[in-house]
């Protein structure tokens, strides 16, 4: 808008100055030349003035506003990633473990997929837990000793887990990795 309006105004002014010049033919010729000389520097001056101050200031003011909202948006990302693993419901968890790290006495560089059960069991309350919570509230039972909710436990295991040891011997472990979990 700022760029379009000034040229229109200037053209109108020039047309107005042209009218009195038309009465004298010789003056008309000079007038035309004068108009051309006057028009060019005015146009340049106006354009230069408009370009300089207000636009630059506005752009500078806008730039920090644009940068600011992007900051917190980026920060939200890592916060969401830091969800607590303990708050997840009871279910299977996976770990890739070297056979030597199992602590079962085997020496091997191979890795096995170890699955175990972990998670919250707050939603699976039994009547036993209700009674226990009541007694805990009345301090008939120590809080640190008693858990008034079920535990996340494996209810089924993988049949076999096999690997080669350092001496190229084949070993098979049974019921090493969990297959199903439940609040028991």
């Amino acid at each position: 808008a700022w760029w379009v309006r000034p040229p229109v105004g200037e053209t109108k002014a020039q047309a107005g100055s042209g009218c009195p010049g038309s009465s004298q033919p010789t003056l008309t010729g000079e007038g035309v030349a004068g108009c051309t000389w006057n028009a060019e520097p005015l146009c340049f001056r106006d354009r230069a003035l408009l370009q300089g101050a207000p636009d630059a200031v506005e752009l500078r003011e806008l730039s920090p506003w644009v940068a600011r909202p992007s900051g917190p948006r980026r920060r939200a990302g890592p916060r969401r990633r830091r969800a607590r693993p303990g708050s997840r419901p009871c279910g299977l968890r996976e770990l890739e473990v070297r056979v030597s790290e199992l602590g079962l006495g085997y020496t091997s560089d191979e890795t096995v997929l170890f699955r175990y059960c972990a998670g919250a069991c707050e939603a699976a309350i039994r009547i036993y837990d209700l009674g226990l919570r009541r007694l805990r509230q009345r301090r008939r039972v120590r809080k640190e000793r008693v858990r008034a909710h079920p535990c996340c436990r494996p209810t089924a295991y993988e049949d076999e887990v096999s690997f080669l040891d350092v001496h190229s011997r084949y070993h098979t472990l049974q019921e090493l990795s969990a297959r199903e979990c439940a609040c028991v």
Binding site: Y116, R134, L176
Partner: protein, 135 residues
Amino acid sequence: WVLDLQEAPAADELSSGKMAETGRTWKPHQGNNNVRLPRALPGLCRLWSLTLPVAELGLGYASEEKIIFRYCAGSCPQEVRTQHSLVLARLRGQGRAHGRPCCQPTSYADVTFLDDHHHWQQLPQLSAAACGCGG
């Protein structure tokens, strides 16, 4: 008027009786609690029992009877039942696996009692029958 006068003292006697009973029953339970839960010795996971009135369970039953409530409590050292629990305890010790072993009932028992209306009430699986540590 004569009937009203006769009823009033009966109610007073009943209320006083209840107060006396509740007063008496509280102290022995505390004593039992102290004896069965020694502070000095942190016990391992096992079955504990409490004798208490039904009303104390807060399950909404009106009854003056007492029941035996059994529960599981105690610490759970590394369990060596299965290779799974052995490996899991090791990985938990290294901080690689979440969770912890917990002392929980492995079987339950029903509890039966008479309510104030002389009706038998049965609470299935209210009491623990056996305990175990499991990962």
